[in-house]
């Protein structure tokens, strides 16, 4: 699991001291440095930089140089430099996204890495759905997610770096390749992918910036509601309804199954807020298609997570156990297909 040694922390602190000093144009002291997320290959570190008496709350996003990514991660996730430019474009367009500050250089030796401002709030669904401090926020989240998403999709493509274009047909082909690579026959996922293939929406003439992982767990919330949208590494160009469908996948409701919009509201509430904020009109059949797709997608991601352990690329009980969650999406897929579409 964790390779979080004191040596690694010391190295990161020293490099951050040099890099933040360069960026702010004065000697910076690094304080309260701590590793946030568990992944070995995609790290998030939180720290403060004190420059000329002013304290900056910051985040380091980092892919260490020596860590192997799986072929699938390389195929679907953008690199850190591209992520930095997507954040810059989205933030400049008024999206509630973290403000990216500067990139580290290869000479810094931390791998692909950049620094952004830290925003307050928590992402833990269990707390957001049940704890008293978020009582008032809970009623607002579905609408806010609709508004923010409309802004993401309105980002001017000319301000974006080169991003992969991914349409329905590309997604289906990718999931079938995944199933083939895993090697275990999966009748329910095959059924769902054929259903999806036969009904797939036509590509848009003008694809938009799709966040790609817009769901509960990937945004921060404080007492006032959603503060910022995180985890942009699956950003691509495509169908805006993809993000609306993914947000409504049952796995992100964390038990609040009667509130499809991330566990916080109805689909209609989400779509109304999206349309009112300037997003296009949402076709319910198209949204249903993307929700079915998202459900199959998450199920196959679960199988892939287990495969990372089984193939030896990451030794992790947690990854192994996620494989047994795939069946949850098989239950959901059979329910969704019964609803037609």
């Amino acid at each position: 699991m964790s390779v979080h040694t004191s040596t690694e922390t010391e190295t990161v602190a020293r490099v951050l001291g040099e890099a933040t000093s360069r960026h702010f144009g004065g000697p910076a002291t690094i304080d309260a440095l701590s590793r946030q997320s568990g992944g070995a290959s995609r790290q998030t570190w939180s720290f403060d930089a004190v420059v000329g008496g002013e304290r900056h709350a910051l985040i380091l996003r980092r892919d260490p140089p020596a860590q192997g990514k799986t072929a699938r991660e390389r195929a679907v996730a953008i690199d850190r430099a591209t992520e930095f430019r997507v954040l810059r474009a989205a933030h400049d367009a008024g999206v509630r996204a973290p403000e990216p500050l500067f990139e580290l250089t290869p000479q810094d030796g931390l791998g692909e890495a950049y620094v952004m401002r830290r925003v307050g709030g928590i992402a833990i669904a269990r707390k957001l759905l049940r704890d008293p401090p978020y009582e008032a926020a809970r009623g607002k989240i579905a609408g806010q997610l609709g508004e923010i998403l409309a802004r993401i999709h309105a980002t001017d493509p000319a301000t974006l770096p080169h991003l992969p274009r991914r349409e329905a047909a590309d997604h289906i082909a990718e999931l079938r390749r995944s199933l083939d690579a895993l090697g275990q026959p999966q009748p329910v996922f095959e059924l769902a992918l054929t259903w999806l293939d036969r009904r797939k929406p036509a590509p848009l003439e003008r694809p938009v910036l799709v966040h790609g992982d817009y769901r509960t767990g990937n945004y921060l919330v404080d007492e006032t509601g959603v503060t910022t949208i995180l985890d942009w590494e699956l950003a691509h160009l495509g169908d805006p309804v993809e993000d609306l469908g993914w947000l409504c996948v049952k796995s992100w409701r964390f038990g609040a199954i009667d509130r499809p919009a991330g566990g916080f509201g109805s689909r209609e509430e989400l779509w109304a807020a999206y349309e009112q904020a300037g997003g296009g009109e949402v076709d319910p059949a198209r949204a249903h298609w993307w929700e079915v797709f998202g459900t199959a997608h998450w199920g196959i991601i679960c199988l892939n997570q287990a495969w990372k352990h089984l193939s030896g690329s990451i030794r992790s009980m947690e990854h192994a156990s996620i494989g047994r969650r795939a069946v949850e999406t098989e239950v959901d897929l059979l329910q969704l297909l019964k609803q037609g579409g």
Binding site: R176, V188, L191, T194, W195, M317, S321, R325, E328, V331
Partner: protein
């Protein structure tokens, strides 16, 4: 040769109970990150306990249904491979009532092992 009791399911339950009731609270106090990992482990042991108890009969039912559906007998994995192939090619789809009854039953047995609370 039969092993003495506890059965595999009984032993798994005893281990899970110990880890949940005694080891996890101690870890939560000293190493919260490991406390989380321990919950994952306890949950996985509960899956194994249900699999040991319910898995063999579920596999036999799945096999019998597949033999009926595909009209031939073969190992479970081979039959599932054939079915998966038919579903990818579109030879069978959700309009096939016998197919859907089989998948519903199979997934119902699978979730009863992996996560009976899922709905």
């Amino acid at each position: 040769m039969a092993q003495d009791r506890p059965t595999a399911a009984e032993l798994l339950t005893a281990i899970a109970d110990f880890l949940r009731e005694e080891a996890t609270p101690a870890l939560d106090r000293s190493e919260p990150r490991l406390g989380f990992q321990m919950r994952v482990a306890v949950n996985s042991l509960a899956i194994l306990e249900r699999e040991v108890r319910l898995g063999p009969a579920a596999d036999a039912r799945e096999q019998a249904r597949l033999v009926g559906l595909l009209g031939r007998d073969a190992p479970l994995d081979e039959l599932n491979r054939e079915l998966a192939h038919q579903l990818r090619s579109g030879e069978r789809d959700e309009t096939d009532a016998a197919l859907m009854a089989h998948l519903e039953a199979t997934i119902s047995d699978k979730i009863a092992i992996a996560n009976p609370k899922w709905r």
